[in-house]
Amino acid sequence: MIYRLAEVGMRYGAATVLSRVSAEFAQAEFVAVLGPNGAGKSTLLGILAGLKSGHEGRCEYRDRGVEQWPRREFAREVSFLPQNVQISFPFSAQEIVLMGRTPHGRGWVESPADIAAAKRAMELTDSSNYRCRDFVSLSGGERQRVILAAALAQTPKVLLLDEPSSFLDLSHQVALYRLLARLPREEKMLVIAVTHDLNLAAAHADRVLILNDGQLVADGTPADVINEACLRDVFGVDAVIHQNRSARPVILYE
């Protein structure tokens, strides 16, 4: 187990957005975090990324609290992909991806190894075609692939993603989830993704966490966790669950 969360919570003033979440994550798995808006998913991800100070409980990465890790060292292990990156300046896509290499070298310019890693990451996310274009000029989906490439170029052991597929077209959504499912097997990476796409998560994730009102209400394989009762109680949606050819749940909304 490389991540251990014990009774993790978060309050903003009087509002409790996350309370007493305990979970452990292994070296190589693809975990999808599901839940309605305001369930605390992004807050949980932020705590895992070490970006939310002042949370309750313990959040340990490799037996050390995430706040105790030196930032650079932690950034070589854990990469965080924010939901929405707004940039006001004309950075090229390639420059954005190369920023992922920052924790790997103290030099003023990137090394050939940095450039090779960035190139490979852009190939993995199918974004090489527009590497010289301004990030600002790209479409939402193209931007998302560039940001994902930046996270992969960091060559992390843990990849934390906040709604990575929200702007992607259908083929890139499927390609993204296939890639996320491949990373634990081929690169021994822990992938934790917050998402609203229950079907894609059910079809690809090894494990699903469901948050509701800041509480962890379910944790298990997609087949165990995603059922009609859960959809009704947590998401407030009446739906029918079928199975696909690999015996994973498929949700049909009425």
């Binding site: 990156v85 707004q86 954005i96 301004d134």
Partner: protein
């Protein structure tokens, strides 16, 4: 042109400014006689015009670099070195000194000293307003800076309204911004204080790239974001405060030079910062020389001229921008 060519061209522009600008002016000067030490050519070139060109270079470079830094830290392409309130503090200090009649007294210039003091107080004030348990956020910095700007402006207007006609005129003149002939010792002091700050900012250029994208973006990639925001704010304050105390607020340099260079060279601070220093320096030195000669022997305030030269140039640039969709 590629990025290295732009940087080399910038250096050439600096050297050309130092060599050529002191020869231009209302009095006809022979370089041969100046070198030979003949009066008054020697005094006009070496004691009056050259120090002024050098001050223009230092001030322009520092203001442009401060502008780039403000824009990066506030993640706003329209931020200027004056957005954060430091220059208003310097102005208020200088205006107060003018009202109190602290003119030049031997080696010390009371207006400068009051300007430095005003800038320092403004820095402390803005940090006090903006920091929350040791954390500085771009948004609160911006709010604190804008608030302090309006308070200082109100106090300046008040001081001006109660001062005599002569002093009021001096105040208006100071607020227009201008580059004057200074002693070489002042230039040396200025360079000793400014250049290490510029050097520090250049060395950390990769970190500013990440901070220009976002604080979390930088922190998640191992940049000590809070420490860099603090030191970046401090660097902006030193650069802006020192220059403004000497020259008054000179607008446009810190906005237009970075903006124009970003259109041509992109946003990578490893190129943008050195280019801004070089072109900002040359731009202000040339503007100041133009301010000297256009209505010679009368002078136009250089702040007026930077806006007059910079505005149309900028519009031209926007219309011919190479980097496609960005504005």
């Amino acid at each position: 042109m590629s990025r290295p060519v732009w940087l080399i061209a910038g250096m050439v522009a600096i050297v050309a400014s130092v060599l050529l600008l002191p020869l231009i002016g209302s009095a006809d000067i022979s370089l041969a006689r100046a070198w030979a030490g003949t009066s008054p050519d020697k005094e006009i070139v070496f004691d009056i015009r050259l120090p002024r060109v050098l001050l223009g270079l230092l001030a322009g470079g520092a203001l442009s670099v401060a502008g780039v830094m403000c824009q990066a830290l506030l993640r706003d392409a329209l931020a200027t070195p004056y957005t954060l309130g430091v220059a208003s503090g310097a102005s208020l200090g200088a205006v107060a000194a003018i009202c109190l009649g602290w003119g030049e007294a031997g080696q010390f210039n009371g207006v400068w000293l009051a300007g430095f003091a005003g800038a320092a107080i403004a820095v402390v004030g803005v940090v006090g307003l903006a920091s929350d348990g040791g954390r500085l956020s771009s948004f609160t910095l911006l709010l604190a800076g804008v608030t302090l700007n309006s308070i200082c402006l109100a106090l300046i207007l008040f001081l001006q309204s109660v001062s005599s006609f002569g002093k009021s005129l001096t105040i208006v003149r100071w607020l227009m911004g201008g580059i004057d002939t200074v002693e070489y010792s002042t230039l040396v002091w200025l360079a000793v204080l400014l250049l290490p700050v510029v050097g520090f900012v250049l060395l950390r250029a990769r970190d500013w790239n990440l901070l220009a994208v976002g604080e979390d973006w930088a922190a998640a990639r191992g940049v000590p974001a809070q420490r860099m925001i603090w030191s970046g704010y401090f660097a902006i304050s030193v650069l802006t405060g020192l220059v403004t105390a000497l020259t008054g607020p000179i607008g446009f340099v810190g906005l237009i030079v970075p903006h124009a260079l970003r259109l041509k060279l992109g946003a990578d601070h490893r190129v943008l910062l050195p280019a801004s220093f070089l072109y900002g320096a040359a731009f202000l030195a040339v503007s100041d020389t133009a301010a000297r000669i256009i209505l010679a022997p009368a002078e136009i305030p250089v702040g007026v001229l930077t806006a007059l030269l910079g505005g149309p140039f900028f519009i031209l640039l926007l219309r011919s921008k190479r980097r496609s969709t960005w504005l």
